[in-house]
């Protein structure tokens, strides 16, 4: 699908989700995997807005692009916020602790990593690039 640019604000989350859901439908991803991908992208986009842009006093955009390969659907979020690698955020080790007692950082990143078949982060020339991949159930024709 053609890349789409969204303002780096929380109001963009719904539009980003619509883009991901359309890409998932187009690629034939099943319902459960579609939900997990949408959740992963939403969690990272939320972090980009909240921590990358707003907390840092910056503004900018988030570009979303989805590509269907023969065996997988790939979604890439790209932004110019402060460098932030979700993989450096420790996975919460307190999931057995009663929720009344635990701090709640890192849940979004945990859900992202749990939910994707592959997740990667790249930083290049001032751009953060978060790459989400979901395996497709059966091979399909690649789209240009």
């Amino acid at each position: 699908m053609d890349a789409k640019l969204f303002p780096g604000t929380l109001e963009s989350l719904a539009g980003i989700a619509d883009y991901v859901l359309a890409a998932a439908a187009h690629s034939g991803l099943d319902k459960r995997a579609t939900y997990r991908l949408r959740l992963a992208v939403d969690e990272v986009a939320t972090n980009i807005v909240a921590h990358g842009y707003v907390e840092a006093g910056l503004s900018g955009h988030i570009q979303v692009v989805a590509t269907t390969h023969s065996d997988r659907l790939q979604v890439i979020l790209e932004d110019t916020a402060i460098p932030y690698n979700p993989l450096t955020q420790a996975t919460p080790d307190n999931l057995d602790t009663p929720i009344a007692e635990r701090p709640l950082g890192g849940l979004g990143v945990f859900l992202t990593i749990q939910g994707c078949d592959r997740f990667a982060y790249e930083y290049h020339d001032g751009h953060n690039r978060n790459i989400f991949e979901m395996n497709l159930p059966t091979p399909t024709e690649p789209t240009p």
Partner: protein, 112 residues
């Protein structure tokens, strides 16, 4: 995000409709937390919620803590399969009472 509140027989029923993400979770939290008073019985009907991110989990956690602090009782009903999955892998489901339907949720609240 639509939030409907009604009270019946000493039980407050909150029906949510729409996706709960970081842009809508604050509305849920701000609408629901003030409903919790001493000994409140609260039913959260999430039948109309197809999606919830970790922002929603954090809102539910605030609610859980508020209800516990006020010696109240809380039940979630109508969780979608995917939301139940999210709550399960994060360990949340173990700490919430969850029932399939509003009728079952009301029964749970009336028992105690």
């Amino acid at each position: 995000m639509e939030i409907r509140t009604e009270t019946t027989g000493g039980i407050t029923v909150v029906s949510l409709r729409g996706d709960i993400d970081a842009s809508t979770a604050p509305q849920v939290q701000e609408s629901v937390l003030p409903l919790v008073t001493a000994g409140s019985k609260l039913l959260m009907d999430m039948t109309g919620v197809p999606y919830m991110s970790s922002a929603g989990l954090r809102a539910l956690l605030s609610l859980y803590r508020q209800v516990a602090a006020k010696d109240g009782k809380l039940v979630l009903v109508g969780l979608s399969e995917e939301i139940a999955d999210t709550m399960s892998i994060t360990g949340f489901l173990d700490f919430f009472a969850a029932r399939g339907t509003a009728a079952e949720g009301l029964q749970f609240l009336q028992e105690g």
